[in-house]
């Protein structure tokens, strides 16, 4: 087993374990902290794929900004295990079954996709994830979707300001 393999299995185990802990934790704050760990593990995977820019932006945006806002809300609402609404057993069971079905569909979809067949993962070698190539791709091949999504962000921001404003 090479170092990359070991790192891959370690990160995968970490990601899955933390993701399960997100669901299992009774305390919402613990859930958020486990979710941050999931993001770290996923960033680790990005680094294994040599997509360093994606890895660090994933950390800055998700772990650094969005999760902080989650924490804000949860801390201020003062949620705890007693206040948490308890669902029926059969509801939980139905959730698990439907979630499992969805996972199965996703996995089969990925396995059947023609883009994926007979391809191997570019560990440490691909360079599309480097910031230079990513920027070139975004601003040449994908410039229209890129700009449109930025307009979308702007409108979301304006909407948030309008909602947040007291009148």
């Amino acid at each position: 087993m090479s170092t990359t393999d070991i790192l891959f299995y370690f990160l995968s185990a970490l990601a899955i374990f933390s993701a399960i802990m997100v669901l299992v934790s009774r305390n919402p704050v613990h859930s958020v902290l486990w979710l941050i760990l999931v993001f770290f593990a996923i960033s680790g995977h990005y680094i294994l794929l040599n997509a360093q820019f994606l890895a660090i932006v994933n950390l800055i945006v998700y772990a650094g900004a969005i999760m902080v806002l989650f924490l804000f809300v949860i801390m201020l609402m003062n949620l705890n295990a007693e206040a948490e609404p308890q669902k029926h057993m059969w509801m939980k069971l139905a959730g698990v079954i439907s979630g499992g079905c969805f996972l199965m569909v996703l996995v089969s979809l990925v396995r059947q996709a023609t883009d994926m067949q007979n391809k191997s993962v570019l560990m440490k070698t691909g360079d599309i994830g480097l910031i230079k190539n990513l920027g070139k791709a975004l601003f040449s091949d994908y410039v229209v979707p890129f700009e449109i999504s930025s307009v979308l962000f702007l409108s979301a921001m304006v909407g948030a300001v309008v909602i947040g404003k007291k009148d």
Binding site: L33, V57, G64, L71
Partner: protein
């Protein structure tokens, strides 16, 4: 000597380098606390600590010993695991920045070229940003786990302040990156060292000013030390902490200060460049040592300015802080970015 396809010599070399940098940073931070008290004393026209050792030089050790000897108190209602995790995270996030800072060029020891930088990754400055945004968790987790309303309020203040000023900081940074065209700190420093090229401060004076203000806010230094405003929040987010856990929080502030000074020196003041001297004419090892000395000098000057400002300017009110961040610094940074972009386009013709 390869096992698991790891170059163990490189591994050891980096490990030694990391140990040296971490311990040096902690040592400097130790004496920064002393310098803080001395500078405060000078600015307030009093002698300052002068009992322990000559000129009070052993004062930081006495302070550290005092903190260690204090009783460790964990409040009954606190969330124990997170209460302990908080200061650890604050310290880790503060120290992690040093991985990408180029402390100097390379030295040649035992026929090996050793770079005095732990990792020259091509997203260096973004890495610094990622680590800075992680630093918020130390404050937030500690403040929440204390189960104290004052701590919680202070933690939320600290986090919202950090997020607000990160934006302006990032925008100021983009202008620098437009000039240098690289995210690697080493490349940015190397460019500034080229003959005939000035330091980035000459091209980005406004950007530096914005960056400096934001760095001060990120380190929670006065006039931006709202999370520790005693008259509103008793003692801030580390109210329930005692002994060395409190020490970790106080200490991480100083480590943060050193690291942000180092980043500013690299981005705007040529890093380990010695002004008016072509390092290539010197022997490599001598140049490296002088480079470290130059960078440390710049860091010390920055730290002094930090302290000078702390003991001169009173604290902002919270609404003033937010106004400054969102309504003044961000538009200014955007303007700076636009001007820089227009200038670069004009130069290209």
């Amino acid at each position: 000597m390869t096992l698991l396809t790891i170059d163990w010599l490189l591994f050891t070399e980096k490990l030694v380098l990391i140990a040296i940098i971490v311990f040096a940073s902690l040592g400097i931070a130790l004496y920064t606390t002393f310098a803080e008290r001395k500078v405060a004393a000078i600015l307030q026209d009093r002698p300052g600590p002068n009992r322990a050792g000559p000129f009070g030089l052993f004062q930081p050790f006495a302070d550290g010993l005092k903190l260690i000897m204090k009783e460790e108190i964990i409040p009954n209602t606190a969330n124990k695991g997170l209460f302990i995790l908080g200061p650890g995270l604050a310290m880790t996030a503060a120290l992690m920045t040093c991985a990408v800072i180029p402390w100097s060029s390379h030295v040649t020891l035992f026929n090996r070229n050793i770079d005095l930088q732990v990792a020259d990754i091509n997203i260096g400055i973004l890495y610094v940003f990622g680590v800075v945004s992680m630093g918020v968790y130390g404050i937030m987790i500690g403040g929440w786990a204390s189960n104290n309303k004052f701590s919680l309020m202070a933690a939320l203040r600290g986090a919202s302040q950090a997020i607000s000023y990160e934006l302006a900081m990032g925008l100021a940074l983009i202008a620098v990156l437009m000039i240098s065209g690289s995210l690697s700190l080493k490349t940015i420093v190397d460019q500034q060292m080229q003959p005939g090229r000035l330091w980035n401060i000459a091209y980005q004076p406004l950007g530096f000013l914005i960056f400096f203000i934001c760095a001060m806010a990120e380190c929670n230094r006065t006039p931006f030390d709202l999370p520790e405003a005693e008259n509103e929040l008793n003692f801030g987010y580390h109210q329930e902490y005692s002994s060395m856990k409190l020490g970790f929080y106080l200490f991480s502030e100083y480590v943060n200060m050193i690291m942000s000074s180092a980043v500013m020196a690299c981005l705007f003041f040529g890093g380990f460049d010695i002004p008016f001297l072509d390092e290539k004419t010197l022997a490599p090892n001598l140049a490296a040592v002088l480079g470290v000395a130059a960078l440390l000098t710049k860091i010390v000057i920055f730290i002094f300015v930090f302290m000078w400002i702390r003991w001169t300017i009173p604290r902002f009110r919270y609404d003033q802080l937010m106004n400054l961040g969102w309504k003044k610094l961000i538009p200014l940074a955007l303007l700076n970015m636009l001007l820089t972009g227009a200038f670069i386009l004009w130069k290209q013709g």
